[in-house]
Protein backbone atom coordinates (compact mmCIF):
# COMPACT_ATOMS: atom_id res chain seq x y z
CA UNK A 1 0.00 0.00 0.00
CA UNK A 2 1.26 3.44 -0.86
CA UNK A 3 2.06 5.93 1.81
CA UNK A 4 -0.92 8.08 0.86
CA UNK A 5 -3.19 5.05 1.09
CA UNK A 6 -1.88 4.18 4.51
CA UNK A 7 -2.45 7.73 5.62
CA UNK A 8 -6.01 7.58 4.36
CA UNK A 9 -6.61 4.26 6.14
CA UNK A 10 -5.18 5.67 9.36
CA UNK A 11 -7.39 8.69 8.97
CA UNK A 12 -10.57 6.70 8.59
CA UNK A 13 -9.71 4.02 11.11
CA UNK A 14 -11.37 6.25 13.63
CA UNK A 15 -9.57 5.25 16.73
CA UNK A 16 -11.08 8.21 18.50
CA UNK A 17 -14.62 6.76 18.46
CA UNK A 18 -13.22 3.54 19.93
CA UNK A 19 -11.28 5.53 22.50
CA UNK A 20 -14.42 7.41 23.53
CA UNK A 21 -16.42 4.18 23.69
CA UNK A 22 -13.85 2.56 25.94
CA UNK A 23 -12.70 5.41 28.13
CA UNK A 24 -15.45 8.02 28.36
CA UNK A 25 -18.41 7.63 30.66
CA UNK A 26 -21.45 6.47 28.56
CA UNK A 27 -19.21 6.86 25.47
CA UNK A 28 -20.63 3.70 23.92
CA UNK A 29 -23.83 5.65 23.18
CA UNK A 30 -22.12 8.05 20.74
CA UNK A 31 -22.64 5.75 17.75
CA UNK A 32 -26.41 5.75 18.40
CA UNK A 33 -26.84 9.44 17.54
CA UNK A 34 -28.90 9.90 14.35
CA UNK A 35 -28.03 13.58 13.95
CA UNK A 36 -31.55 14.93 14.33
CA UNK A 37 -30.42 18.01 16.27
CA UNK A 38 -33.12 18.07 18.93
CA UNK A 39 -30.49 18.19 21.73
CA UNK A 40 -28.91 21.33 20.29
CA UNK A 41 -32.26 23.00 19.73
CA UNK A 42 -33.55 22.08 23.19
CA UNK A 43 -30.46 23.24 25.12
CA UNK A 44 -31.22 26.45 27.04
CA UNK A 45 -27.52 27.39 26.74
CA UNK A 46 -27.28 26.14 23.17
CA UNK A 47 -26.17 29.42 21.56
CA UNK A 48 -23.24 29.59 24.03
CA UNK A 49 -21.78 26.31 22.79
CA UNK A 50 -19.14 26.41 20.10
CA UNK A 51 -20.03 22.83 19.13
CA UNK A 52 -23.52 21.55 19.95
CA UNK A 53 -23.88 17.98 21.30
CA UNK A 54 -24.91 16.44 17.97
CA UNK A 55 -21.95 18.19 16.33
CA UNK A 56 -19.61 16.83 19.01
CA UNK A 57 -20.96 13.32 18.36
CA UNK A 58 -20.28 13.75 14.64
CA UNK A 59 -16.80 15.17 15.34
CA UNK A 60 -16.02 12.11 17.49
CA UNK A 61 -17.13 9.86 14.66
CA UNK A 62 -15.00 11.92 12.27
CA UNK A 63 -11.98 11.35 14.50
CA UNK A 64 -11.49 15.00 15.46
CA UNK A 65 -9.81 14.19 18.77
CA UNK A 66 -8.06 17.49 19.55
CA UNK A 67 -10.96 19.69 18.44
CA UNK A 68 -13.33 17.76 20.72
CA UNK A 69 -11.20 17.30 23.81
CA UNK A 70 -9.73 20.81 23.77
CA UNK A 71 -13.14 22.38 23.22
CA UNK A 72 -14.90 24.14 26.07
CA UNK A 73 -18.32 23.21 24.67
CA UNK A 74 -19.10 20.28 26.96
CA UNK A 75 -18.10 22.43 29.94
CA UNK A 76 -21.15 24.60 29.13
CA UNK A 77 -23.56 21.86 30.21
CA UNK A 78 -25.60 22.85 33.27
CA UNK A 79 -27.19 19.41 33.70
CA UNK A 80 -30.75 20.55 33.04
CA UNK A 81 -31.40 17.18 31.35
CA UNK A 82 -33.65 18.70 28.66
CA UNK A 83 -31.62 16.93 25.96
CA UNK A 84 -31.93 13.54 27.65
CA UNK A 85 -35.67 14.01 28.08
CA UNK A 86 -36.11 14.94 24.39
CA UNK A 87 -33.58 12.70 22.65
CA UNK A 88 -35.55 10.34 20.35
CA UNK A 89 -32.83 7.71 20.78
CA UNK A 90 -32.59 8.11 24.55
CA UNK A 91 -28.89 8.98 24.53
CA UNK A 92 -27.74 10.07 28.01
CA UNK A 93 -26.36 13.28 26.48
CA UNK A 94 -25.79 15.13 29.77
CA UNK A 95 -23.71 12.24 31.09
CA UNK A 96 -21.72 11.96 27.86
CA UNK A 97 -20.92 15.68 28.00
CA UNK A 98 -19.68 15.36 31.59
CA UNK A 99 -17.83 12.19 30.61
CA UNK A 100 -16.01 14.00 27.81
CA UNK A 101 -15.18 16.97 30.05
CA UNK A 102 -13.88 14.64 32.75
CA UNK A 103 -11.84 12.64 30.25
CA UNK A 104 -10.26 15.78 28.77
CA UNK A 105 -9.47 16.96 32.28
CA UNK A 106 -7.84 13.64 33.20
CA UNK A 107 -5.69 13.84 30.09
CA UNK A 108 -4.75 17.39 31.04
CA UNK A 109 -5.85 18.84 27.71
CA UNK A 110 -9.07 20.56 28.78
CA UNK A 111 -9.04 24.33 28.22
CA UNK A 112 -7.07 26.18 30.88
CA UNK A 113 -8.94 28.76 32.91
CA UNK A 114 -12.35 27.40 31.87
CA UNK A 115 -14.50 28.61 34.81
CA UNK A 116 -16.60 25.44 35.13
CA UNK A 117 -13.47 23.32 35.16
CA UNK A 118 -11.77 25.55 37.74
CA UNK A 119 -14.76 25.54 40.03
CA UNK A 120 -15.14 21.76 39.70
CA UNK A 121 -11.52 21.28 40.76
CA UNK A 122 -11.97 23.73 43.61
CA UNK A 123 -15.12 21.95 44.81
CA UNK A 124 -13.52 18.51 44.57
CA UNK A 125 -10.49 19.56 46.61
CA UNK A 126 -12.67 21.27 49.19
CA UNK A 127 -14.94 18.25 49.55
CA UNK A 128 -12.33 15.51 49.61
CA UNK A 129 -10.08 17.24 52.13
CA UNK A 130 -12.34 16.45 55.08
CA UNK A 131 -15.26 14.57 53.58
CA UNK A 132 -17.55 17.56 54.14
CA UNK A 133 -17.84 20.69 52.04
CA UNK A 134 -16.41 23.66 53.84
CA UNK A 135 -18.86 26.22 52.53
CA UNK A 136 -17.07 29.21 53.98
CA UNK A 137 -13.76 28.25 52.41
CA UNK A 138 -15.41 27.27 49.13
CA UNK A 139 -17.13 30.66 48.94
CA UNK A 140 -13.96 32.54 49.82
CA UNK A 141 -11.82 30.61 47.34
CA UNK A 142 -14.37 31.41 44.66
CA UNK A 143 -14.38 35.11 45.59
CA UNK A 144 -10.58 35.29 45.53
CA UNK A 145 -10.12 33.14 42.45
CA UNK A 146 -9.62 36.25 40.36
CA UNK A 147 -7.18 37.97 42.73
CA UNK A 148 -7.18 39.83 46.04
CA UNK A 149 -8.81 43.04 44.79
CA UNK A 150 -11.90 41.52 43.17
CA UNK A 151 -12.10 39.04 46.12
CA UNK A 152 -12.38 41.81 48.68
CA UNK A 153 -14.87 43.62 46.45
CA UNK A 154 -17.13 40.58 46.18
CA UNK A 155 -16.80 39.78 49.88
CA UNK A 156 -17.82 43.34 50.76
CA UNK A 157 -20.82 43.12 48.40
CA UNK A 158 -21.96 39.86 49.98
CA UNK A 159 -21.32 41.03 53.57
CA UNK A 160 -24.98 41.42 54.51
CA UNK A 161 -25.98 37.99 53.23
CA UNK A 162 -23.00 36.37 54.97
CA UNK A 163 -23.83 38.04 58.26
CA UNK A 164 -27.45 37.01 57.97
CA UNK A 165 -26.39 33.41 57.37
CA UNK A 166 -24.11 33.47 60.40
CA UNK A 167 -26.91 34.84 62.59
CA UNK A 168 -29.33 32.24 61.25
CA UNK A 169 -26.82 29.49 62.05
CA UNK A 170 -26.38 28.60 58.35
CA UNK A 171 -22.68 29.58 58.21
CA UNK A 172 -20.04 28.92 60.86
CA UNK A 173 -17.19 31.49 60.81
CA UNK A 174 -14.98 29.00 62.72
CA UNK A 175 -14.86 26.90 59.52
CA UNK A 176 -12.04 29.21 58.43
CA UNK A 177 -9.73 27.17 60.67
CA UNK A 178 -10.18 24.03 58.60
CA UNK A 179 -13.77 23.06 59.32
CA UNK A 180 -15.44 19.85 60.46
CA UNK A 181 -14.79 16.47 58.95
CA UNK A 182 -16.31 13.02 58.68
CA UNK A 183 -15.76 10.67 61.64
CA UNK A 184 -13.36 8.31 59.90
CA UNK A 185 -11.35 10.61 57.67
CA UNK A 186 -8.69 7.99 57.01
CA UNK A 187 -11.32 5.47 55.97
CA UNK A 188 -12.99 8.06 53.74
CA UNK A 189 -9.73 8.74 51.95
CA UNK A 190 -9.15 5.00 51.57
CA UNK A 191 -12.60 4.69 49.93
CA UNK A 192 -11.76 7.46 47.47
CA UNK A 193 -8.36 5.94 46.68
CA UNK A 194 -9.94 2.55 46.02
CA UNK A 195 -12.64 4.09 43.86
CA UNK A 196 -10.00 5.93 41.84
CA UNK A 197 -8.00 2.74 41.44
CA UNK A 198 -11.05 0.83 40.10
CA UNK A 199 -12.05 3.71 37.85
CA UNK A 200 -8.50 4.07 36.49
CA UNK A 201 -8.29 0.37 35.76
CA UNK A 202 -11.63 0.44 33.94
CA UNK A 203 -10.75 3.48 31.87
CA UNK A 204 -7.19 2.42 31.16
CA UNK A 205 -5.47 5.01 33.34
CA UNK A 206 -3.86 2.37 35.59
CA UNK A 207 -0.26 3.12 36.48
Amino acid sequence: MSNANQQAVARYKNNFLKEVEERVEEGHWVKMCMQCGVCAGSCPLGPAWEHTPQKIFMMIRAGKRDEVLQSDSMWMCTSCYNCIARCPRKLPITHIMHGLANYAHRLGIAPKGQPTREFAVMFWKNLTKRGRTNELMLTLSLYFANGIGPGIQTAMNMQKIGLGMVLAGRLNPMEIFGGHSVKDLKGFHAVLAKAKEIEDRKKGFAA
Partner: protein, 432 residues
Protein backbone atom coordinates in the same frame (compact mmCIF):
# COMPACT_ATOMS: atom_id res chain seq x y z
CA UNK B 1 -79.70 -15.55 11.38
CA UNK B 2 -76.14 -14.44 10.90
CA UNK B 3 -74.95 -17.24 13.16
CA UNK B 4 -76.59 -19.88 10.99
CA UNK B 5 -74.49 -19.09 7.90
CA UNK B 6 -71.22 -18.93 9.83
CA UNK B 7 -69.31 -22.16 10.25
CA UNK B 8 -65.75 -23.23 10.93
CA UNK B 9 -65.24 -22.65 7.21
CA UNK B 10 -66.17 -18.98 7.40
CA UNK B 11 -63.51 -16.25 7.50
CA UNK B 12 -64.07 -13.27 9.75
CA UNK B 13 -62.39 -10.05 8.66
CA UNK B 14 -62.19 -7.38 11.35
CA UNK B 15 -62.02 -3.87 9.94
CA UNK B 16 -63.54 -2.50 6.74
CA UNK B 17 -60.78 -0.23 5.50
CA UNK B 18 -58.80 -0.85 2.33
CA UNK B 19 -57.03 -3.86 3.91
CA UNK B 20 -60.17 -5.48 5.31
CA UNK B 21 -62.09 -4.96 2.07
CA UNK B 22 -59.20 -6.48 0.14
CA UNK B 23 -58.78 -9.47 2.45
CA UNK B 24 -62.53 -10.12 2.41
CA UNK B 25 -62.82 -9.84 -1.38
CA UNK B 26 -59.80 -11.97 -2.20
CA UNK B 27 -61.19 -14.79 -0.04
CA UNK B 28 -64.75 -14.34 -1.25
CA UNK B 29 -63.66 -14.38 -4.88
CA UNK B 30 -61.97 -17.72 -4.12
CA UNK B 31 -65.40 -18.96 -3.09
CA UNK B 32 -64.95 -18.66 0.68
CA UNK B 33 -67.67 -17.39 2.99
CA UNK B 34 -66.58 -14.11 4.56
CA UNK B 35 -68.03 -11.85 7.22
CA UNK B 36 -66.59 -8.34 7.14
CA UNK B 37 -67.18 -6.32 10.29
CA UNK B 38 -66.54 -2.60 10.60
CA UNK B 39 -66.77 -0.46 13.73
CA UNK B 40 -67.87 2.77 12.01
CA UNK B 41 -71.03 3.22 9.91
CA UNK B 42 -69.19 2.91 6.57
CA UNK B 43 -66.50 0.96 4.76
CA UNK B 44 -63.41 2.70 3.40
CA UNK B 45 -61.57 3.55 6.59
CA UNK B 46 -58.79 6.10 6.58
CA UNK B 47 -58.16 5.59 2.88
CA UNK B 48 -61.48 7.29 2.15
CA UNK B 49 -60.25 10.32 4.10
CA UNK B 50 -57.31 10.98 1.79
CA UNK B 51 -57.45 13.65 -0.88
CA UNK B 52 -54.97 12.02 -3.24
CA UNK B 53 -52.71 8.97 -3.28
CA UNK B 54 -48.98 9.00 -3.88
CA UNK B 55 -47.21 8.51 -6.24
CA UNK B 56 -49.75 8.85 -9.06
CA UNK B 57 -51.68 11.63 -7.31
CA UNK B 58 -54.98 9.94 -8.17
CA UNK B 59 -58.05 10.09 -5.93
CA UNK B 60 -58.90 7.24 -3.55
CA UNK B 61 -62.54 7.37 -4.64
CA UNK B 62 -61.55 5.49 -7.78
CA UNK B 63 -60.08 2.47 -6.01
CA UNK B 64 -62.85 2.51 -3.43
CA UNK B 65 -65.50 2.45 -6.10
CA UNK B 66 -63.95 -0.63 -7.70
CA UNK B 67 -63.80 -2.43 -4.36
CA UNK B 68 -67.34 -1.46 -3.41
CA UNK B 69 -68.55 -2.75 -6.77
CA UNK B 70 -66.79 -6.06 -6.09
CA UNK B 71 -68.42 -6.27 -2.66
CA UNK B 72 -71.90 -5.45 -3.96
CA UNK B 73 -71.57 -8.11 -6.63
CA UNK B 74 -70.30 -10.90 -4.40
CA UNK B 75 -72.80 -12.94 -2.38
CA UNK B 76 -70.00 -14.57 -0.37
CA UNK B 77 -69.25 -11.37 1.59
CA UNK B 78 -71.54 -10.24 4.33
CA UNK B 79 -70.82 -6.70 5.55
CA UNK B 80 -71.72 -5.67 9.07
CA UNK B 81 -71.08 -2.01 9.92
CA UNK B 82 -71.20 -0.40 13.38
CA UNK B 83 -70.02 -3.75 14.64
CA UNK B 84 -67.19 -4.54 17.02
CA UNK B 85 -65.65 -7.82 18.10
CA UNK B 86 -66.05 -8.13 21.87
CA UNK B 87 -64.76 -11.67 22.45
CA UNK B 88 -62.96 -14.45 20.63
CA UNK B 89 -62.74 -17.96 22.11
CA UNK B 90 -61.35 -21.18 20.65
CA UNK B 91 -58.46 -21.81 18.32
CA UNK B 92 -57.45 -22.22 14.67
CA UNK B 93 -60.31 -23.65 12.63
CA UNK B 94 -62.84 -23.25 15.39
CA UNK B 95 -63.45 -19.84 16.87
CA UNK B 96 -66.53 -18.64 18.74
CA UNK B 97 -66.77 -14.91 18.18
CA UNK B 98 -69.03 -12.42 19.92
CA UNK B 99 -69.93 -9.27 18.04
CA UNK B 100 -71.66 -6.16 19.32
CA UNK B 101 -73.74 -4.25 16.80
CA UNK B 102 -74.43 -0.62 17.74
CA UNK B 103 -77.73 0.96 16.69
CA UNK B 104 -77.70 3.06 13.52
CA UNK B 105 -81.36 4.05 14.10
CA UNK B 106 -81.80 3.83 10.33
CA UNK B 107 -82.79 0.61 8.58
CA UNK B 108 -82.42 -0.82 5.06
CA UNK B 109 -85.31 1.30 3.74
CA UNK B 110 -83.06 4.36 3.67
CA UNK B 111 -82.56 5.90 0.22
CA UNK B 112 -80.05 8.52 1.45
CA UNK B 113 -82.49 11.26 0.36
CA UNK B 114 -81.31 13.45 3.24
CA UNK B 115 -84.71 14.59 4.55
CA UNK B 116 -83.88 13.45 8.10
CA UNK B 117 -80.74 15.60 8.06
CA UNK B 118 -82.80 18.62 7.02
CA UNK B 119 -85.21 18.03 9.90
CA UNK B 120 -82.42 18.06 12.48
CA UNK B 121 -80.62 21.15 13.77
CA UNK B 122 -78.07 19.91 16.32
CA UNK B 123 -74.59 19.02 15.12
CA UNK B 124 -71.86 16.56 16.08
CA UNK B 125 -68.15 16.37 15.23
CA UNK B 126 -67.63 15.35 11.60
CA UNK B 127 -65.13 12.53 12.16
CA UNK B 128 -64.72 11.99 8.40
CA UNK B 129 -63.18 15.48 8.24
CA UNK B 130 -61.27 15.04 11.53
CA UNK B 131 -63.77 17.43 13.12
CA UNK B 132 -62.69 16.21 16.55
CA UNK B 133 -59.30 17.78 15.76
CA UNK B 134 -58.19 21.12 14.31
CA UNK B 135 -60.62 21.29 11.37
CA UNK B 136 -63.47 21.56 13.88
CA UNK B 137 -65.81 20.33 11.12
CA UNK B 138 -69.38 19.61 12.18
CA UNK B 139 -72.10 17.53 10.66
CA UNK B 140 -75.84 17.29 11.37
CA UNK B 141 -76.74 14.67 13.99
CA UNK B 142 -78.54 12.75 11.17
CA UNK B 143 -75.90 12.34 8.52
CA UNK B 144 -74.36 10.39 5.69
CA UNK B 145 -70.72 9.76 6.75
CA UNK B 146 -69.38 10.84 3.35
CA UNK B 147 -70.29 10.87 -0.33
CA UNK B 148 -68.75 7.41 -0.97
CA UNK B 149 -70.20 5.83 2.17
CA UNK B 150 -71.16 2.17 1.94
CA UNK B 151 -73.74 1.22 2.89
CA UNK B 152 -75.17 4.40 1.36
CA UNK B 153 -77.40 4.94 4.34
CA UNK B 154 -77.85 7.70 6.90
CA UNK B 155 -76.86 7.43 10.56
CA UNK B 156 -78.58 9.03 13.50
CA UNK B 157 -76.23 10.05 16.28
CA UNK B 158 -77.14 8.44 19.64
CA UNK B 159 -77.18 11.93 21.23
CA UNK B 160 -80.55 12.71 19.55
CA UNK B 161 -82.02 9.20 19.47
CA UNK B 162 -84.33 9.71 22.44
CA UNK B 163 -85.14 13.38 21.83
CA UNK B 164 -87.70 15.45 19.98
CA UNK B 165 -85.13 15.95 17.24
CA UNK B 166 -84.95 12.21 16.78
CA UNK B 167 -88.72 12.15 16.43
CA UNK B 168 -88.51 15.01 13.90
CA UNK B 169 -86.04 12.99 11.83
CA UNK B 170 -88.40 10.04 11.99
CA UNK B 171 -91.36 12.16 10.95
CA UNK B 172 -89.38 13.60 8.02
CA UNK B 173 -88.57 10.17 6.58
CA UNK B 174 -90.91 9.18 3.77
CA UNK B 175 -89.68 5.59 3.70
CA UNK B 176 -90.12 4.52 7.32
CA UNK B 177 -86.35 4.07 7.55
CA UNK B 178 -85.83 5.75 10.93
CA UNK B 179 -86.15 3.26 13.79
CA UNK B 180 -85.43 4.94 17.11
CA UNK B 181 -86.11 1.74 19.03
CA UNK B 182 -82.89 0.04 17.85
CA UNK B 183 -80.71 -1.31 20.65
CA UNK B 184 -77.20 -2.73 21.04
CA UNK B 185 -77.28 -6.27 19.71
CA UNK B 186 -74.95 -9.16 20.50
CA UNK B 187 -74.26 -11.71 17.78
CA UNK B 188 -72.50 -15.07 18.19
CA UNK B 189 -70.58 -16.56 15.28
CA UNK B 190 -68.46 -19.61 14.57
CA UNK B 191 -65.59 -19.00 12.21
CA UNK B 192 -62.44 -20.84 11.18
CA UNK B 193 -60.03 -17.97 10.74
CA UNK B 194 -59.88 -14.31 11.74
CA UNK B 195 -58.11 -11.62 9.73
CA UNK B 196 -57.36 -8.58 11.88
CA UNK B 197 -57.37 -5.57 9.56
CA UNK B 198 -58.03 -3.05 12.30
CA UNK B 199 -55.79 -0.43 10.73
CA UNK B 200 -54.06 2.56 12.21
CA UNK B 201 -54.73 5.91 13.73
CA UNK B 202 -52.68 9.11 13.66
CA UNK B 203 -50.46 9.46 16.70
CA UNK B 204 -51.96 11.87 19.25
CA UNK B 205 -50.15 15.14 18.41
CA UNK B 206 -50.99 16.55 21.85
CA UNK B 207 -48.41 14.21 23.30
CA UNK B 208 -45.59 15.90 21.36
CA UNK B 209 -45.45 18.71 23.87
CA UNK B 210 -42.68 20.91 22.29
CA UNK B 211 -44.68 21.23 19.05
CA UNK B 212 -47.66 22.85 20.78
CA UNK B 213 -50.45 21.21 18.77
CA UNK B 214 -52.59 21.75 21.87
CA UNK B 215 -51.54 25.41 22.23
CA UNK B 216 -51.18 26.87 18.76
CA UNK B 217 -54.11 27.04 16.35
CA UNK B 218 -51.90 26.97 13.26
CA UNK B 219 -50.16 23.70 14.07
CA UNK B 220 -52.16 20.87 12.47
CA UNK B 221 -51.62 17.22 11.56
CA UNK B 222 -51.00 15.68 8.15
CA UNK B 223 -54.37 13.89 8.16
CA UNK B 224 -56.13 17.19 8.85
CA UNK B 225 -54.19 18.77 5.98
CA UNK B 226 -55.59 16.07 3.65
CA UNK B 227 -59.09 17.27 4.50
CA UNK B 228 -58.16 20.95 4.01
CA UNK B 229 -56.84 20.20 0.51
CA UNK B 230 -59.85 18.11 -0.51
CA UNK B 231 -62.64 19.96 -2.36
CA UNK B 232 -65.08 17.75 -0.41
CA UNK B 233 -63.46 18.88 2.84
CA UNK B 234 -64.61 21.52 5.33
CA UNK B 235 -62.87 24.40 3.49
CA UNK B 236 -63.96 23.32 0.04
CA UNK B 237 -60.35 22.54 -0.86
CA UNK B 238 -58.94 25.93 0.18
CA UNK B 239 -55.90 25.73 2.45
CA UNK B 240 -57.24 27.99 5.19
CA UNK B 241 -55.44 27.87 8.51
CA UNK B 242 -57.58 27.18 11.59
CA UNK B 243 -56.32 30.17 13.63
CA UNK B 244 -57.83 32.96 11.55
CA UNK B 245 -59.12 31.37 8.37
CA UNK B 246 -56.39 33.06 6.30
CA UNK B 247 -54.91 31.30 3.29
CA UNK B 248 -51.73 29.51 4.32
CA UNK B 249 -49.15 29.86 1.56
CA UNK B 250 -45.90 29.26 3.44
CA UNK B 251 -46.23 25.83 4.97
CA UNK B 252 -43.75 23.84 7.08
CA UNK B 253 -43.94 20.06 7.18
CA UNK B 254 -42.32 18.43 10.22
CA UNK B 255 -41.31 14.81 9.68
CA UNK B 256 -41.09 12.14 12.38
CA UNK B 257 -43.78 13.83 14.50
CA UNK B 258 -43.98 10.97 16.95
CA UNK B 259 -42.22 8.35 14.82
CA UNK B 260 -38.65 7.12 15.33
CA UNK B 261 -38.78 8.44 18.86
CA UNK B 262 -38.33 6.31 21.97
CA UNK B 263 -40.50 8.81 23.85
CA UNK B 264 -43.39 8.31 21.43
CA UNK B 265 -43.50 5.69 18.63
CA UNK B 266 -40.29 3.71 18.36
CA UNK B 267 -40.93 2.61 14.77
CA UNK B 268 -40.55 4.49 11.51
CA UNK B 269 -44.10 4.95 10.20
CA UNK B 270 -42.78 4.65 6.62
CA UNK B 271 -45.53 6.61 4.91
CA UNK B 272 -45.04 10.09 6.38
CA UNK B 273 -42.12 11.19 4.19
CA UNK B 274 -44.07 10.30 1.06
CA UNK B 275 -47.22 11.88 2.51
CA UNK B 276 -45.44 15.21 3.08
CA UNK B 277 -43.74 15.10 -0.32
CA UNK B 278 -47.19 14.52 -1.80
CA UNK B 279 -48.73 17.33 0.25
CA UNK B 280 -46.17 19.85 -1.05
CA UNK B 281 -47.83 19.23 -4.38
CA UNK B 282 -51.21 20.20 -2.90
CA UNK B 283 -49.59 23.55 -2.03
CA UNK B 284 -48.34 23.87 -5.60
CA UNK B 285 -51.77 22.86 -6.92
CA UNK B 286 -53.40 25.61 -4.81
CA UNK B 287 -50.95 28.49 -5.38
CA UNK B 288 -48.60 27.60 -8.23
CA UNK B 289 -45.24 29.34 -7.88
CA UNK B 290 -46.59 31.58 -5.09
CA UNK B 291 -46.81 28.68 -2.63
CA UNK B 292 -43.91 27.66 -0.43
CA UNK B 293 -43.30 24.33 1.27
CA UNK B 294 -40.45 23.55 3.66
CA UNK B 295 -39.80 20.01 4.83
CA UNK B 296 -37.92 19.59 8.12
CA UNK B 297 -36.57 16.06 8.26
CA UNK B 298 -34.06 13.70 9.87
CA UNK B 299 -33.66 11.79 6.64
CA UNK B 300 -36.13 11.37 3.81
CA UNK B 301 -37.33 7.79 3.54
CA UNK B 302 -39.10 7.58 0.20
CA UNK B 303 -39.31 3.83 0.39
CA UNK B 304 -38.04 1.78 -2.56
CA UNK B 305 -39.49 2.77 -5.93
CA UNK B 306 -40.69 6.16 -4.66
CA UNK B 307 -37.21 7.67 -4.87
CA UNK B 308 -38.17 9.19 -8.23
CA UNK B 309 -41.11 10.97 -6.60
CA UNK B 310 -38.70 12.47 -4.07
CA UNK B 311 -36.43 13.59 -6.91
CA UNK B 312 -39.38 15.16 -8.70
CA UNK B 313 -40.29 17.16 -5.57
CA UNK B 314 -36.63 18.15 -5.05
CA UNK B 315 -36.69 19.78 -8.47
CA UNK B 316 -39.74 21.84 -7.50
CA UNK B 317 -38.50 25.37 -6.75
CA UNK B 318 -41.35 25.98 -4.28
CA UNK B 319 -40.15 23.16 -2.03
CA UNK B 320 -37.11 23.39 0.21
CA UNK B 321 -35.61 20.90 2.63
CA UNK B 322 -34.05 21.52 6.06
CA UNK B 323 -32.16 18.59 7.54
CA UNK B 324 -33.17 19.01 11.17
CA UNK B 325 -35.68 17.63 13.61
CA UNK B 326 -37.41 20.76 14.87
CA UNK B 327 -36.71 21.14 18.60
CA UNK B 328 -39.70 23.26 19.52
CA UNK B 329 -42.39 25.56 18.14
CA UNK B 330 -43.32 28.95 19.55
CA UNK B 331 -45.95 31.39 18.29
CA UNK B 332 -45.64 34.93 17.01
CA UNK B 333 -48.43 36.48 19.06
CA UNK B 334 -48.93 39.34 16.59
CA UNK B 335 -49.81 37.33 13.51
CA UNK B 336 -50.42 33.85 14.92
CA UNK B 337 -47.57 32.38 12.86
CA UNK B 338 -45.80 29.37 14.32
CA UNK B 339 -42.04 29.92 14.77
CA UNK B 340 -39.83 26.86 14.41
CA UNK B 341 -36.68 26.58 16.51
CA UNK B 342 -33.84 24.16 16.01
CA UNK B 343 -30.34 23.50 14.73
CA UNK B 344 -29.75 22.01 11.30
CA UNK B 345 -27.33 19.18 10.61
CA UNK B 346 -25.86 20.61 7.40
CA UNK B 347 -23.61 23.23 8.99
CA UNK B 348 -25.19 23.22 12.45
CA UNK B 349 -26.95 26.55 11.96
CA UNK B 350 -29.36 27.69 14.63
CA UNK B 351 -32.66 28.85 13.14
CA UNK B 352 -35.92 30.48 14.23
CA UNK B 353 -38.14 30.40 11.16
CA UNK B 354 -41.69 31.63 10.84
CA UNK B 355 -44.31 29.94 8.65
CA UNK B 356 -48.04 30.48 8.05
CA UNK B 357 -48.93 26.93 9.00
CA UNK B 358 -47.19 23.86 10.39
CA UNK B 359 -48.22 20.37 9.31
CA UNK B 360 -47.02 17.63 11.65
CA UNK B 361 -46.39 14.42 9.70
CA UNK B 362 -47.80 12.33 12.53
CA UNK B 363 -46.85 8.69 12.79
CA UNK B 364 -49.04 5.61 12.47
CA UNK B 365 -50.15 3.94 15.66
CA UNK B 366 -52.13 0.67 15.56
CA UNK B 367 -55.82 1.44 16.08
CA UNK B 368 -55.92 -1.37 18.66
CA UNK B 369 -53.32 0.26 20.94
CA UNK B 370 -54.83 0.09 24.41
CA UNK B 371 -57.57 -2.34 23.32
CA UNK B 372 -57.79 -5.76 24.94
CA UNK B 373 -57.25 -8.35 22.21
CA UNK B 374 -57.62 -12.15 22.44
CA UNK B 375 -54.86 -13.60 24.62
CA UNK B 376 -53.14 -15.65 21.95
CA UNK B 377 -52.57 -12.69 19.61
CA UNK B 378 -48.92 -11.72 19.44
CA UNK B 379 -48.07 -8.01 19.13
CA UNK B 380 -44.72 -6.49 18.24
CA UNK B 381 -43.03 -3.84 20.40
CA UNK B 382 -45.13 -1.12 18.74
CA UNK B 383 -48.43 -3.02 19.19
CA UNK B 384 -48.71 -4.08 15.56
CA UNK B 385 -50.49 -7.42 15.19
CA UNK B 386 -48.36 -10.39 14.20
CA UNK B 387 -51.22 -12.88 14.54
CA UNK B 388 -51.89 -15.89 16.74
CA UNK B 389 -49.23 -18.53 17.32
CA UNK B 390 -51.40 -21.28 15.78
CA UNK B 391 -51.89 -19.20 12.61
CA UNK B 392 -55.69 -19.06 12.87
CA UNK B 393 -55.66 -15.33 13.41
CA UNK B 394 -53.72 -13.19 10.97
CA UNK B 395 -52.72 -9.51 11.02
CA UNK B 396 -53.29 -7.60 7.77
CA UNK B 397 -52.51 -4.16 6.37
CA UNK B 398 -51.64 -1.24 8.61
CA UNK B 399 -52.76 -3.23 11.67
CA UNK B 400 -49.73 -5.47 11.11
CA UNK B 401 -47.13 -2.88 10.15
CA UNK B 402 -47.00 0.78 9.12
CA UNK B 403 -47.92 0.54 5.42
CA UNK B 404 -49.15 2.77 2.63
CA UNK B 405 -52.30 1.84 0.70
CA UNK B 406 -50.45 -0.13 -1.97
CA UNK B 407 -48.51 -2.23 0.54
CA UNK B 408 -51.55 -2.61 2.80
CA UNK B 409 -53.39 -4.20 -0.13
CA UNK B 410 -50.45 -6.58 -0.72
CA UNK B 411 -50.35 -7.45 2.98
CA UNK B 412 -54.12 -8.04 3.05
CA UNK B 413 -53.94 -10.31 0.00
CA UNK B 414 -51.22 -12.36 1.71
CA UNK B 415 -53.28 -12.52 4.91
CA UNK B 416 -56.27 -13.64 2.90
CA UNK B 417 -54.28 -16.53 1.41
CA UNK B 418 -53.21 -17.62 4.89
CA UNK B 419 -56.85 -17.53 6.04
CA UNK B 420 -57.88 -19.61 3.01
CA UNK B 421 -55.23 -22.19 3.92
CA UNK B 422 -56.64 -22.42 7.45
CA UNK B 423 -60.12 -22.95 6.02
CA UNK B 424 -58.88 -25.66 3.64
CA UNK B 425 -57.21 -27.55 6.49
CA UNK B 426 -60.38 -27.20 8.56
CA UNK B 427 -62.52 -28.47 5.68
CA UNK B 428 -60.33 -31.54 5.08
CA UNK B 429 -60.33 -32.35 8.81
CA UNK B 430 -64.12 -32.05 8.94
CA UNK B 431 -64.48 -34.27 5.87
CA UNK B 432 -62.24 -37.01 7.28
Amino acid sequence: MTASIATGQTILVVGGGISGMTAALEAAECGKQVILVEKTPTLGGRTAQLYRYFPKMCHPTCGLEINLKRIKGNPNVRVMTMTEVTAVAGSRGNYAVTLKVAPRYVNENCTACGDCGKAVTSEVADTYNYGDGKTGAKVKAAYLPHAMAYPQRYVIDPSIAGTAEGEAAKAACKYGAVDLGMKDENVQLNVGAVVWATGWRPYDANKIQPYGYDRYANVITSVEFERLADPHGPTGGKILRPGDGKEAKDIAFIQCAGSRDENHLRHCSRICCMASLKQTQYVREAYGDAGKSTIYYIDIRAIDRFEDFYQMVQKDATVSFVKSKVARIAENKENGNPVLHGVDTEGYHRYATEHDLVVLAVGMEPEVTGVKLPDDIVLDSSNFIEGSKDGGMIGAGAASSPLDVNRAVQSATAASLKAIQVIHKTASTEAA
